[in-house]
Each structure stands twice: as structure tokens, then as C-alpha cells.
């Protein structure tokens, strides 16, 4: 069954490691839905969250091949029910329509917040699941959305051990 999988990868901070990881998806003709990377809770160890839509048998093999890379410490995969995940979106709308249109109630109703307000434009930020971010977009659209950007997903799995305990085993 094809479904969404969240792959979490912990790596050393070496040049080219992202390339090594993405090659594995490319070789299997697998599309990456989203990708984020940043330093983890341990200094010098980087954490990648990669979202793919595929079957479990495929994702298992891909994760095995990722973990085989010399500079990869550990890789896991989880389906959506096993993780808590969020994305962040920024919306830029003209300040005048924003001020005059009562859109503030919309922002509040969506638990979004105003990040910055300038003479010409206002930037709103919302964190949530993709559908929630989209819903806010749809409601802001009548005010004229000048720019809209959504991050990739970050995910934390419910059952996972701490990274440190894995490192200790190694």
C-alpha cells in the first residue's frame, strides 16, 4: 500500500552527505515530497526529515541503503500515525487590505500570528499540518496574497529512543 512515510536520518556533518542520500531515492525513481535538515540536539550531528509516498517494502529498502552510508549514524522510517509532525507557512498580504478587511479575526481563528507589519505588507506565520496551512491560505486569498511559502515537514516519532542511547550502543 502506498502511503506517506517520514524518514529520519542522523548523519555526521560532512560535505556531500545530502547528495549521497538523495542519490538513493533518485536511483529508485522515487520522488521526495519534502526535505528538511538541521543540527540535532547533539552538536555536530545533523538530522534530516524526508517525506516520501511509497510502499513499506520500498521505504524499508531505502532506509537500509541510507543507513549503509559510512557517514550516516542511524535512519528510521515511520508512517504518519507514529509521528507528530508540523510544517510552517508564511503569508505576505498587503497591509491596507489586511487592516480594512477584518482579517485579524481570521488570523486569530487559525491561531496564526503576525510576524511583521510594514507600511506595504504584513507577514503572517502559521505552524500546523499541510491542510491547516492551506485552509488559512484559502481564507486569506480574497485579501490578495502577495507571497506564500511553506517549509518541509519536521517530525518527531512517538516511540523512538533518544539519539544518545543509539550512539551509546555504537
Amino acid at each position: 500500500m502506498v502511503q506517506v512515510y517520514n524518514i529520519s536520518i542522523f548523519t555526521e556533518n560532512h560535505i556531500g552527505i545530502l547528495n549521497r542520500i538523495t542519490i538513493i531515492f533518485t536511483r529508485r525513481h522515487m520522488n521526495i515530497e519534502s526535505i528538511t535538515a538541521s543540527e540535532s540536539e547533539l552538536k555536530g550531528i545533523y538530522r534530516y526529515t524526508i517525506v516520501v509516498k511509497t510502499t513499506e517494502s520500498q521505504v524499508k529498502k531505502v532506509v537500509g541503503q541510507i543507513e549503509r552510508q559510512v557517514d550516516v549514524l542511524k535512519a528510521f522510517y515511520h508512517d504518519d500515525s507514529q509521528v507528530v509532525y508540523q510544517e510552517i507557512a508564511l503569508y505576505k498580504i498587503p497591509t491596507d487590505t489586511f487592516m480594512n478587511g477584518g482579517s485579524e479575526t481570521i488570523v486569530r481563528a487559525h491561531s496564526a500570528r503576525i510576524l511583521s507589519m510594514e507600511v506595504g505588507f504584513t507577514i503572517i506565520e502559521k505552524t500546523g499540518q499541510p491542510e491547516e496551512l492551506q485552509k488559512l491560505f484559502d481564507e486569506l486569498e480574497p485579501f490578495g496574497v502577495l507571497e506564500f511559502v511553506r517549509s518541509g515537514r519536521v517530525a518527531i516519532s512517538k516511540p523512538m529512543k533518544t539519539l544518545e542511547s543509539y550512539l551509546a550502543e555504537m
Binding site: 529498502k61 537500509g64 559510512v70
Partner: protein, 562 residues
Amino acid sequence: MNTIRGAEAVMKSLVAEKVDTIFGYPGGAIMPIYDALYDFKDEVRHILVRHEQGAIHAAQGFARTSGKVGVCFATSGPGATNLITGLADAMIDSTPVVCITGQVASHLLGTDAFQETDVIGISMPVTKWNIQVTRAEDIADAIAKAFYIAASGRPGPVLIDITKDAQFGMVDFQYTPCQSIRSYRPHPVMNDTQIQEAVALLNSAQKPYLLVGQGIVLAEAQAELKAFVEKSGIPVASTLLGLGALPVDHPQYVGYLGMHGNYAPNILTNECDVLLAIGMRFDDRVTGDVNRYAKQAKVIHIDIDAAELNKIIPATVAIHADAKDALSALTQQIEENSHGKWLQQFKELRQVEEQEVIQEAVHPTSEALKMAEVVQLLSDKTNGDAIVVTDVGQHQMIASRYYEYKGYRNNITSGGLGTMGFALPAAIGAKLGNPSKTVVAIIGDGGFQMTIQELGTILQAKVDVKILILNNNFLGMVRQWQQLFFDRRDSFTEIVNPDFVQIAKGYAIEATKITEREALSGALDAFLNSKEAYLLEVVVEQEDNVFPMIETGASVADIRLN
């Protein structure tokens, strides 16, 4: 303080890793290293090849006969890109190789400087690990890691790209060999419960069957394999790269697996009840249609690379372990047995293959010589103990079928990649890696011309390689497929060849061509007895086919005899 140039640090690091042979080709971006090499001429032998592809195939041949890491040097740009085929070959066939390439100075990186290519990017999918070094002080550590990674776990190729300024830079040299890397665990901890599960399955099996691959050779587990096989009584078949892991004349050895393998071991794959696979990866050339592969069997798969487990064939018990550890543990716990009736089934099918295929192949009634009779006679005359390096095509399959590999690390071929042009340079490396053995390169007339320039390397380095050209004037294997699957439309597979004997003589290599059966034995004697390199061209049947054969997409049980 021991302050030296980066280039000298390269040489000292290699010497610290006990490197005594380097295959290479110089050029602008690697000149400082070649300059340093000049001072190490007494400690390190450098073999000047004629093309960088030759350097890496030679390094592969060297690694595979010696069990050491093969080393090669190339310059930036075209020198480095010429290594790519060999890297891909070494990657898929798990061969430990360290390549050092020169690179433009670091301030020029990314600017399309003269002879700059993104070697790190290009080689990434075909290396186990690679690294670019831009500072002299990072050279020793990079080389230490490279050797450790190339040789440990599932071996593979590693590339180090060193910028010219790093080669010229000064460094306080100190070398510490690498013994571990935090993110990399090459030696798996075997799970004893799984071994017990495997033993339980094997002890209760009526028709257990063992498939072995190159993992046995790489783990140096031949003795452990033999002990296990003899205690358990289990029949053993081999993949292409596993040939010789168990001597081919062992009474429990039942043959060679896969597309052009033997009849019995393929058919009975679909009859065994427990299939034990060690150090092999279920390549599609071995399995045929996976949906009709050993479905009746419980599968025990043992491999040092966890990513191979459950990749192609789902395993009942998947054991992540080194072949040597696993075999020792299995032997301790397995019950003594002799599966006489089951072995008899293999023997009966062997008889069928003897009658239908082998008899005519080795004692042909045709006027023209056949590849199989040449290989068979070579096998007899060398007692199955020569190092046989094969190229890719019909002659490779025939050599794998008819050479009786009995020696240690004596089967060298390009298995996973199927690289035409592999054999000649690989044979050069194979000989230098194990100089006491006779090395015979068996090559088709097509593949010979892919790296024919390495005759120059043989000339210059005086390498005693016996070159056996099986000339059918066709790109034979492709022609066979055209005949069988494309209505005999021989699209560009007939090849007009030069006079190979004249060419060899041009390189001062002794050479003979034969066309008649009567001349074969004497010609092989002269070939094998010569003290130097020798080329023997044997003109064979033009449009012959290799059988048995499992057609693409067919099941192993549907192997054709003709």
C-alpha cells in the same frame, strides 16, 4: 617536527598502509604527488598504464588476488572521469580499491578551471565513500579512513580527491591508522538466537541447499565453508563470483548458478525445502523471475551488508553477520548428516546436462573449435589452479562453466557490472598481486579491443600474463541474443578484427594464432610454458550459443538446454 609537503604526506601515508604497488597515470593536477613518488621508487612500484580505466581494473585484479587494497593514481578532469567505469565495477563487485585523484587548486573549485570536473559528485554513486581534501594537514587522516573503509565490512572503492594546493602545502606529518568510525560498524554482532533458528531449520530439512557467493572469499572463510559443508552434508552451488569458494571438484559441489549456469543447481532451487544463502545477493542473473524463485523454501540469508537482507528475496531468517563467524557458529551446532538421496537428484540432472550439452561442448563433432573444449583443456593443463581472469560475453560464461576452479582467489571476473575490457588490465593486476601463480586472461575478440592498449603496460612493466583470445569474429553474446530473441537480425554484432598476432608482436609479446583442433594442445603447452607474456588467439566457431540458458523473465526451473 617533521614538516613535509602534502604530496610527500600522500606517499608516506601509503607506505604506512604497506602499499607496494600503485597503478596510475600522471597529469597536471597530480604532478606534485608524482614528484614525491619519484623519491619512493625503491619502496613503491608504480605501474604506468595506458588509460586510467586500465589503472583501476588492474588495481581491482591486484586486490582480488592479493586480498589487499588496490591503489591507483589519476589526474583531475579526464583522468578522474576515466576511472568511473572501474569504480562502478568495484562497487558492485565489492572490491577494495583506493583511488587518489589530483584536483585543481582549491581557489579554482567550482569555476570551470582547466581540467576541473566535479569528481566527488560524479563518483558519489559508485564509491563506498569519497572525500575532497583541500588542506595538506587533512591528507593523512583521509588516507587512513580511506583504507579502513575500503577494506572493512563489505569492501568497496573509495576515492580521495586532493587539490593541488593541498599537495603543495606544508604539514607536520604524523600517521595514525584508522581503527573505527563512529557512524560506521563494519563488523556486525551476530545474533545467536538467529543462528539457533537457522540450525533448527537446517537440522529438520529434508532437502537443504546452500548457495555461496563472493562473501565467502572476501571473509576468507573457505576453510569454514568446507567444514560446514562436510559436517552437514548439504549440497552447495555457487554464484559467478563465488566460483572456487568450494573447490569445484568437491563431491558436494553441484554447480554454478544463474542464467548460463548448470542445469541441476538451477532447477533444484525450486525443489529444496531450506535454502541457505551466504555472502551472495540474489542478483537477477541468479534468480530469474523472483516471483517464481524458491517459493517452496524457507530461506536463510546471511550477509555482512544488512541492506542486502530482504532486498530481493524475503528471508525466513535474515542474519546480519560475517560469513566466517556465521559458518563457524553453524558448524558447531549443525547435526552431522549426509543427504545422499537429495545429492543423487543433482547427479541425475547433471547426467542430463552432460548428455545434452557438455559432451558436445567439450568433444565437439563440429569442424570448428569450440570455446568449451579450449577452456576444458586449459583447465586440465593447469589443474584448475591458474588464476583465470575473464572478460565479458560468451567466453566468460564458458570459462565459468568449464574451468575447474580449485585454487585460492583464482576466479577474477567482472560479475555485477559486466564490463567488457576488464580482463586484460585486471590480469596485469592479478599477476602482480600473486606473482607465483600462472595468470590466464580469457578474452573475446570484442572485449580485447576495449582495453587493448594495456599491451603497452605489459611490455613496459614486463608482466607475465597469458592472453587467450577466443575469436569468433562476433560480439558473440549479443549475437546469441539476436539469434534467440530478435529473429536472427544480427544488428552490428559482426566485427572486423585486426591481426592480433601482429599487434602483440608490435608490443614485443610472443603470439600465435591457431584455427585447427590438432594444434590446440601443443599451442596451449607453448602458451603455458612460456616464461613471459604470451598471446594465443584461438579461432572458434563463429555462431555458437551458450547453453543452458534461463531466458530473461523465466523461472530458474525453466532453464533451457538448447
